[in-house]
Structures are given as C-alpha cells and as structure tokens.
C-alpha cells in the first residue's frame, strides 16, 4: 500500500530539463522583453553646448555610430594655474526612436572608429612670429575688440587648436592658440602664426654607423687611401681591394666638370681598412685609415644620406623675391658664393657644427637640385621639404572620411522606454514585413490543410505501396526551410527549370523573370509553393494521428446508411478531426511568424521582407547592429505567438476532454 510520503523521484527526473528550459528559454524570453522596453543602461547624452550642464538635445545608445561635424576646446583652469584641454565634438547621430539628433559630446564619451582614442588629430604645432614686439596678446574670442586673456612671447612654440574664418570687411583667419604649457590661451589673427616644423637634425643625415662596404675591383687590385677628401692630397697607402672596409664618416666635394660650368657632387668616405693576407712579393700595409672617393666603393653600397629641403626665411611672404646668401664656408664671415632665392629646393648634404664666437651653430652643406650652386646655409634657413609655410582655417576642419566614431561611455541607468517600439511601428519596413507575413499565412494555411487532408486520406486508404508513399510524404519533415528555398529558387530563377520547360514546350518566347523588383506577386507565389511543399507533411502527420483516433464503426455506420465518400468526409471525418486540425492550425500559425530562410533564399530578403527577417536585419552587426530593436521585433512576435498559444492550450484541453468522452 502506498504511503502518503511524497515520492521525490519524478521531481528529480524532471528537474534537469525544467532547469534547462528555464535557463535557456524562460530567462531569455524575459530578457527579450527587458531589452525591448529598457533602453541601454548607458546612454550617451548630447548637449546643446560644449558643457555637460547645458540642455540635453538628444540621447544616443552606446555603440551607435556618430558623425563628427565640428569640435571645440574647453580649457578648464586647474588649481596650479594651468589649463586642461578638453575636446568636445559636435556630432550627428540617430537616437533610439530613429530620429536624427545633433549635439555636443565630450571626447571621453566617444570611441574612435578604429578603437579607443582613435580620433582625427587636429591640433598642430606652431610658432608666433612678429617683428619688433616681444609678446603678442591673445583674445577671448576671434575679435580684436574682445578681452585679452594673456600674452604669449614671440618665437616660442605654441599649440594651434582651432581655426576660424571671420569675414567682416575682409576675410581674416583667426587661430585659437596656447603656449605649450597651457598657461595662456586665446585667439590671435593668422598673420602671426606660422607652422612649427621640425628642422633637420644631424641624425637625419648621419650614416648608419659604422657601415661596412665592398670595394670596386680594379686592374691591379689596388686602391688608394688619401689623407684628406681630395685627390690632390697626400696618398697614405695603397691597399688591396679585398680589404675589409668600414665607413665611419663622409663628406661631399663638388667637382667642377672640365668641359662646362656644372659641378658634380662626389662623396668622399672616411674609412678604416684592414688586410690580413700578405700579397705575394709585395709589401702592403695591413691596416690604415683615411679618405677614399666614392668611385672606389661598389655603386650599390655607397651610403647616400642626402635629404631634400627647402631654402626658407621667416616670414618669407613679407619679403617676396628674397634671396639667401650661400656661404663658401660654414661661417658668416666667409665669402658669399651664391645668392639663393627662397623656396629653392635643396639637396641637403651634410650638417656641420661650427664654432663662432664661443657659440656653436649648425650649418648645412647644401646645393640646389641641379647642383650648380653649392655652399653653406645656417640650419634655420633649411627646412624639410613639404613643410607648410602658413596655416589656414581649413587645416583645422574635421575631414570627410575621418569623421566617424561611436558612443563609448554614457550616464544614466536602465530606464523604461517605448522608443524602440515607436521606432519599430514607424519603420517603413515593419508594415511591409507584417503585411507579407500575414499574406503568406493566409495563402499557405488553407492550401496546406486541404493538401494535408488529401495526403492523410490517401495514406489511410491503405493502397498498395503504402509504405513507399508514407516515406515520400514524410521526406519534407526533414527538409530545412533554407534548402526548400534553394530548391524552389532553382526552379523559378531566370534560367531555371520552369523557364526551360516552358520554352521547350514552345509556350514562351524568351525567359520570363519571376524573381526581381516589381515581381512581388510572383515571389510571394514561389514562397507559398516552397512553404506548402516543405511544411504540409507536418500537418499531414497530425491529421493522420487524428484520423486514427476516429473509430472505424462511425465510418462503417455512415457507409451502411448509404452516405457517399464526400458525405462521410464532410459529416463524419472532418467534425471528428476538428481538435487535431485546430492544433495543427495553431502550430502552423505560430510557425508562420518564423518564416525566414525561405524568404531570404528566394528573394534575398530586401524586396520582400518578413518579421523574422527584420529581426535579423536589426540584430546583424554588419547592418543595423541594434539588438534592442531586434528585441522589440522579437517581443512583438512573442506577443502574437502568446495569444495564439493560449488558444492552442485551450484547444489541447478540449481535445483531451473529447478524448475522455
């Protein structure tokens, strides 16, 4: 006899699957609803001004793409008297409700298109230039009448933050500048601001020290080492061309060609040469240091540290047609060899440090690009070529193609919102999707049910070969919607089977297009065919189980009373099948909301769209990348399905009751 002790066994057996279903079914379902109604726990706010106490003009979900339109700098004074530079960007983006919003965002709330901190680099280094004053005032705004906020000494390096064109009577560029230590900040007219360029450093012209080289073979395997970089200087030694040679210095000699006035630069290399093998019968030194001409070294191994520069005087545009003296030696007391126009392109050969009245000044050995003029210039008159000579306000604009970022940080916590649903209902594709889904449902279901009943009755008739038919009729149970879509695509595509058949039959002249823009009716027809083909078997199986539950006596009684096939079907079979059909109907209706891969396979999912496809489109990181909107769609589908499931469950119960009777 059983006691009233509760048997735990069934609960333990049921637990794993209930737990699993809770974890991966119940919980995510709640998650979908939460995602659909709760805005991202962090929202990036856009402000009316570059100030987070100003009015909020829009709210953008994190990770939404924003377009940087403009920027501004806010300098906050720190207790130490210095300023902090804070970038603010004026951005345009799309908020949750799908509307375009614009406003200011603090730089730290943004993430560059490629990653953290990856922003267009806009500020530049400059230098202040002015004759006859020691410091220049900077102004609060780009206007000479505005308050002066400080002064910055001339000839010092500055940061140029922003440019702006003021067009009063004449267009005038202004720059927002600061000293590099951010102690004085303000606006100054463009005429005083020059780009700061990094001059050539001796390192740029240095050899990769020390560099090895091989020598050019000569007739008698000898080469000459000179005491100084000139062929006329003393010969230190003759060495064998198999010597090991290390180059540690160089200089350039300009050789005047005999037949015309042109000169040719020739490198001389200072080397150290060693030779260990004694040559038969000849007494050669085993090591020496000295100068050799470039011709002694194999052509491809000759070091050539030459750089391209520009002869430059500051400020050049105030002295048009200015020339620079090119000295014959690295000192300004030397004779002037040539007058070089400013902006002449230069070959920069070698840096030379020259002591001049206790001051060490750097000079460069330069020549013009044709090497007809050569001499020495002080370092400040040589700039790397490509250096801009003036800034314009345009240099401080955010450039197209370099202006994308995403929201990275925000404020606020989870907040109830209907924005996602608003956006969904306002979406043009939503209406299309729901219309197509409903049309498909209304076309597919009746055809499916009629066909399924016919198939079930055929199987029930127990004709010969029944088991083969049974197998064939159940094949579609295992066919995926994607495969079904591709199967029917192969039939209806432009050069598909249907066109082939029709043309061979002589029914059409040329290929008929079934799938394409403007062929919506045809595409829907194909989807209906594919779905009927694929999913009728499920209905059929349900109907067959329903048919088996009908007692044979009923049908026999009907036959006895002279009812024909049609009458028996209509008055006995169908009423008895009602519960099964209800169940199948509800199951198919719910599954109809999931139609997805068939549609994509046949139509591509753009011209014709359905609810599930929209869900995917919103989720897809490569397209909308908005999981909340996808969740809104999912919730919408869930509500529809839930309503139908209620009916479903009631139908199940009524079926169970009718079974008991």
């Amino acid at each position: 006899m059983q006691t009233h002790k509760v048997n735990l066994a069934p609960y333990l057996l049921v637990f794993p699957s209930m737990f699993y279903l809770f974890l991966f079914f119940g919980w995510p379902m709640l998650g979908a609803v939460r995602m659909a109604f709760e805005r991202e726990s962090q929202i990036m706010e856009l402000y009316a001004e570059a100030d987070d106490t100003s009015e909020v003009t829009g709210k953008v979900a994190l990770n939404t793409e924003v377009t940087l339109l403009d920027y501004s700098l806010v300098f906050n004074e720190t207790p130490s008297g210095r300023y902090d530079d804070d970038y603010w960007y004026y951005v345009r983006s799309i908020d949750e409700a799908g509307e375009e919003v614009e406003g200011w965002v603090f730089v730290e709330n943004l993430r560059g298109a490629k990653g953290e901190g990856d922003f267009p680099d806009i500020s530049q280094d400059g230098i202040l230039r002015a004759s006859d004053v020691e410091a220049l005032p900077v102004y609060e705004s780009p206007d000479l009448t505005s308050k002066s906020t400080g002064a910055i000494p001339v000839d010092t390096r500055i940061n140029v933050w922003r440019g702006e064109s003021q067009s009063n009577s004449e267009t005038l560029d202004w720059f927002q500048i600061s000293d590099t230590r951010l102690k004085a900040i303000g606006w100054i007219p463009a005429e005083y601001v020059r780009p700061y360029f990094t001059p050539f450093r001796p390192r740029d012209l240095a050899l990769q020290q020390p560099t090895g080289a091989f020598l050019q073979p000569t007739e008698n395997n000898r080469f000459t080492v000179y005491a100084s970089p000139s062929a006329e200087s003393a010969v230190l030694a003759h060495m064998h061309t198999d010597s090991i040679v290390t180059i540690d210095d160089y200089t350039v000699e300009f050789v005047v060609l005999a037949n015309n006035d042109r000169t040719r630069p020739q490198y001389w290399y200072h080397i150290e040469a060693r030779y260990t093998q004694a040559l038969d019968g000849v007494d050669l030194p085993s090591a020496t240091t000295g100068w050799i001409p470039q011709s002694a070294i194999m052509p491809t191994l000759r070091p050539n540290p030459r750089q391209i520069g520009l002869a430059y005087i500051d400020p050049a545009e105030t002295f048009p047609n200015q020339t620079l003296p090119l000295y014959g030696a690295p000192t300004d007391s030397a004779e002037i060899a040539y007058q070089l126009p400013v902006y002449t392109q230069l070959n920069v050969w070698k840096p030379i440090l020259a002591s001049d009245n206790d001051d060490t000044i750097m000079w460069f050995l330069v020549s013009d690009s044709k090497n007809t003029m050569w001499g020495y210039l002080p370092a400040e008159q040589v700039v790397p070529s490509g250096t801009p000579t003036m800034f314009s306000a345009e240099d401080f604009k955010i450039k197209e193609g370099d202006n994308l970022a995403r929201g990275a940080r925000g404020s606020g916590s989870g907040e109830f919102t209907l924005n996602f649903f608003k956006r969904m209902f306002n979406d043009a594709r939503f209406e299309k999707a729901i219309r197509t889904t409903v049309i498909l449902m209304m076309l597919i279901l009746p055809i499916q049910f009629v066909l399924a009943i016919i198939m079930a009755l055929i199987l029930q008739a127990q004709i010969k070969g029944n088991s083969i038919f049974l197998y064939i009729y159940t094949i579609p149970l295992g066919v995926s919607d994607l495969a079904a879509g591709l199967v029917w695509y192969s039939i209806f595509t432009q050069s598909g089977f249907l066109n082939s058949f029709l043309e061979q039959m002589g029914l059409i002249e040329k290929q008929f297009t079934f799938i394409g823009i403007g062929k919506e009716e045809w595409m829907i027809t194909i989807i209906v065919l594919a779905e009927v083909w694929r999913a009728t078997s499920i209905v059929m199986v349900i109907v067959v189980s329903g048919l088996q539950a009908i007692p044979r006596d009923y049908l026999e009684a009907g036959e006895l009373f002279g009812a024909n096939l049609w009458q028996r079907l209509w008055h006995i079979v169908l009423p008895m099948l009602k519960p099964s059909l209800q169940v199948a109907l509800i199951l198919r209706t719910i599954l109809a909301f999931q139609v997805f891969a068939v549609v994509v396979a046949i139509t591509g999912g753009e011209v014709i769209t359905v609810l599930a496809n929209e869900t995917y489109r919103w989720y897809d990181p490569a397209r909308m990348n908005n999981p909340n909107m996808a969740a809104a769609y999912a919730t919408f589908i869930m509500v529809l399905s839930l309503g139908i499931s209620m009916v479903y469950l009631r139908a199940v119960r009524s079926q169970e009751e009718s079974m008991k009777r």
Binding site: S17, L486, F497, Q548, L587, L611, A634
Partner: protein, 298 residues
C-alpha cells in the same frame, strides 16, 4: 502506439470471376476499381509534387558546371558529374562550416537526449503533482518561435564570452529541441508495458536496474530515432545559428549569409547537400515519425 502500417487490413472475401456477376454487382466492382485507380493517380501526383523538386536540384548538383549555367536546362544529370559538388565543397568556409554543423548537431543530440530521457520517463511512468503543468509547459515551449530566444541569448552569450562558438549554438539548439525530444521519449516509454518493469522488480531488480536492464533496451530504438530527429532539427536550424555566430558559422548560416555573393553552383549544390542527411535520416526513422508528431498534438 500505433503506426499507419500497423492497421489491420479488412479481409476481402474471394469473389467469383467478373463474368459470373450480374450487372449491378459488376458496376459496383468497376466503381470501386475506378475509385481505387483515382486514389492511385492522386497518390502518385502528390508523390511527384514532393519528389520532382528534389530530383531537379539533384540534377543541378550532379551536372557539370557548364550545364548549371546553361539554358535551357536538362532535366536529368546528363552527363553525370561531381564537378559542381566538388566546386561547392571547395568554396571557402564550406568545409569548416559543415564540420561546425556536425559538431553542433552531435552536441545538441547528446545534451538533448541526456536531459530529456529522465523527464520523458517521469512523465510517462509517474503520477505526480504538477505532471500536467510540466506537460503543458513543455507543449507551450514547443510552440514558441526561435526568433524571440535568439536575440537575448545572443546578447547573453556575448557577456559569457561564448558567442561565435559551436557551444553557444549547441546550447541554443538543445533548448529548441528539448520539448520535442521530451514528448517523443515519453511516448516511447509509454509504449513499453509497465508490467515488464514490475516483473523485473518482482525478480529482485532495484528500480534503477529494472530501468537499465528491461525498459531502456526496449526503448533504445525509439530514443535513437528521436536522437536522429534531434540531429536533423539542429542540422536544419538557421535563424539562431546566424545570430549566434560570425566566423564559426554552421553550414546553413554560412550558406544563408553568403547567398547574395554566392554563385548558382553554390546555391544548388548547397541546397542539395543540406537535403541529403534529411533524406537518409527520415528513411531510418519513418516508422517513428507519426509517433513524434502525433504525440506533439496530444
């Protein structure tokens, strides 16, 4: 448990030859023949409706690439060639995604069967408080679309660091197939007479031994059939797979994702390739299919 083929045949008494019958009887027999014949015609037409599209895509899959792009198309794979199929299998990502699909399907099959078997047994064997709730719950879950689960689960898996793995897809597919598997397995257990189990207990088996030695071996074919069906469901599933994966796509997800850039050969061969397991598996489990789907409606 009853299967269509199991139905008892009505025994037709041997009738005399046609010429010995009167005209009314002859008419009745002819009428029956016509009816039988028309049922046959109908049965064959429906069979053709199902088979013809499969034949056509099979034709494409086993034609030369040239034939695939030709027009008008042949309606049989003449000349027969594996060129198109080979081309499809060599497309970048197909083999990897096929492997992913197989791994996912096996993981799903394993988890789903493992978790569903005890529940199926409990539902079929025990009468306990809440049994109906469990059954109805499972039924209700069965009816829910994958679409609503995939989105939040994808986000959850990202947080768990599981996104874009076969594990994520397998966990999801297990949740999707579990209700069906539970119902089918419970119907399998229900079809095994309780008396056998009780007899085993009488002969000294513990309940667990009775299950393991008597019930389980009898249920094994049915459980295997349900496992195969689980495999097919996972192999076919595309929506969850495409949401949960980016680089480690399953085969349907890979094919769907690359549809707009895919050549016709890939589409046709891919369609056929995805069909093949279904054709084979359905053949093996056809006897059980009615059980499975019949049960779902009850």
């Amino acid at each position: 448990m009853s299967v269509v083929t199991d139905q008892p045949k009505t025994v037709v008494p041997k009738r005399p030859p046609l010429w010995q019958l009167d005209s009314a009887q002859r008419r009745a027999i002819l009428q029956r023949r016509v009816r039988r014949g028309s049922v046959y015609v109908l049965a064959v037409l429906v069979a053709l409706w199902i088979l013809l599209p499969i034949w056509l895509i099979g034709t494409m899959a086993f034609s030369t690439t040239e034939a695939v792009y030709s027009y008008p198309k042949h309606f049989a794979p003449i000349p027969f060639s594996v060129e198109t199929m080979k081309f499809f299998l060599e497309v970048d990502g197909i083999l990897e995604s096929t492997r992913n699909s197989i791994v996912v399907a096996f993981l799903t099959l394993f988890w789903s069967t493992l978790i569903a078997t005890p529940t199926g047994y409990a539902i079929s064997r025990y009468v306990f408080r809440g049994r109906n709730a469990v059954r109805l719950g499972v039924l209700a879950v069965r009816a829910f679309p994958v679409v609503i689960l995939a989105v939040p689960l994808a986000v959850t898996f990202v947080n768990w660091g599981l996104n874009d793995t076969v594990w994520a897809v397998a966990l999801m597919h297990t949740a999707l197939t579990l209700p069906t598997t539970i119902l089918v397995i419970s119907s399998v257990f229900a079809s095994i007479p309780r008396e056998l189990e009780e007899a085993a207990k009488v002969f000294g088996c513990s309940p667990f031994e009775a299950f393991l030695r008597v019930v389980f071996p009898l249920a094994l074919p049915g459980i295997a059939a349900s496992a195969i069906f689980t495999f097919v469901m996972s192999w076919n599933e595309v929506f969850a797979a495409i949401l949960l994966t980016l680089d480690n796509r399953t085969l349907p997800a890979e094919i769907l994702y690359s549809l707009d850039k895919a050549s016709e050969t890939t589409k046709f061969a891919g369609g056929f390739f995805m069909l093949v397991p279904s054709l084979i598996f359905i053949f093996f489990i056809r006897r059980y299919l009615f059980n499975m789907w019949g049960q779902i409606t009850k």
